[in-house]
Subunit: 198 residues, 2 copies
Amino acid sequence: MPRPANPLVRENLLTAGLSLFHAQGFNAVGIKEITDTAGVPKGSFYSYYSSKNVFAAAVLGRYWTGIVQDHGTILSEGSLSPVQRIIHFFEALTQDHAEQGFALGCLIGNLALELSHENEEAREELSSIMTRWSALVAACLRAARNEEAVVATPAADELASMLIEAWEGAAMRGRVDRSRAPYDRFLTVSLPRLIGAA
Amino acid sequence: MPRPANPLVRENLLTAGLSLFHAQGFNAVGIKEITDTAGVPKGSFYSYYSSKNVFAAAVLGRYWTGIVQDHGTILSEGSLSPVQRIIHFFEALTQDHAEQGFALGCLIGNLALELSHENEEAREELSSIMTRWSALVAACLRAARNEEAVVATPAADELASMLIEAWEGAAMRGRVDRSRAPYDRFLTVSLPRLIGAA
């Protein structure tokens, strides 16, 4: 009979997985390393997650929740203009990456490109995160359009996706070069040009 | 005494590595799978490459050479305007990805985000490829500026990097969603806005 799930163990597994996958990638990390880091017996992993793929999806969900908790409020900060909110949001993400010396990049992007195209669980979670991320930024873009501060096309969700995609590409290059230069050109040139900031 | 290197074996190893890394990633593929696919004994691998990391750098070099051979001439095609050449070049890359159902993305981006930040050999090759790629596109941007067809700032290499980074982000999202939509919005909206095409 399976033992009842312990929320603390689940939490420790997610924290360990997030840190290990971000530093080393998905395939380079074994389940034993995850359970050792979490301080739980290896056998307990499968009481919580049916597979490493399912676990990767949960880790991605946790990573995204952390971003929203840490920085999501910037996007509804009433004292800033909608365009300023968007810029501050991406600046805050840049600061997170700076704290890792630009060596680790964004876990969402890393796993999006590492995981096999046959890992359906994680792919669906990645797709869902991208959609939620776009929706968050799109809400700000709509507010900016109400003030006629940005160009009217394309649809806000499309434009938000373009921003996020350009951001992810900047994070990729930043990781390769261990440099903030790609982030800076995204923030100061790409972002304003893409939204056609007035 | 090491046997003399056989160029055909080296070629077969690179071809096998490129195909396997692109389909499955770097860490998911073992050296035996590479040598089996190449049709050579496992032991011969180390006669050609001192490590899997060094091999990854060589595979990336081969992938980039293939892109230049297949599509590089578009960027100096005299019958097209410089801006048209840039658009056609990225359209050609999109067509390559379409042929894989947008499931595999760009090997450069995939390995940039999968490989450990401790894999110096591959990181240096990735950085060098990004620089060469930017230089290729930047030459076209300079020609476009001579015709006053694109905005004058930032420096052509910076602007070329912004385009390539936005492209890589689009390929990432396209891989997650198995969709050409991110490529299409890059080609029709992001690219012209980033270069400020007249």
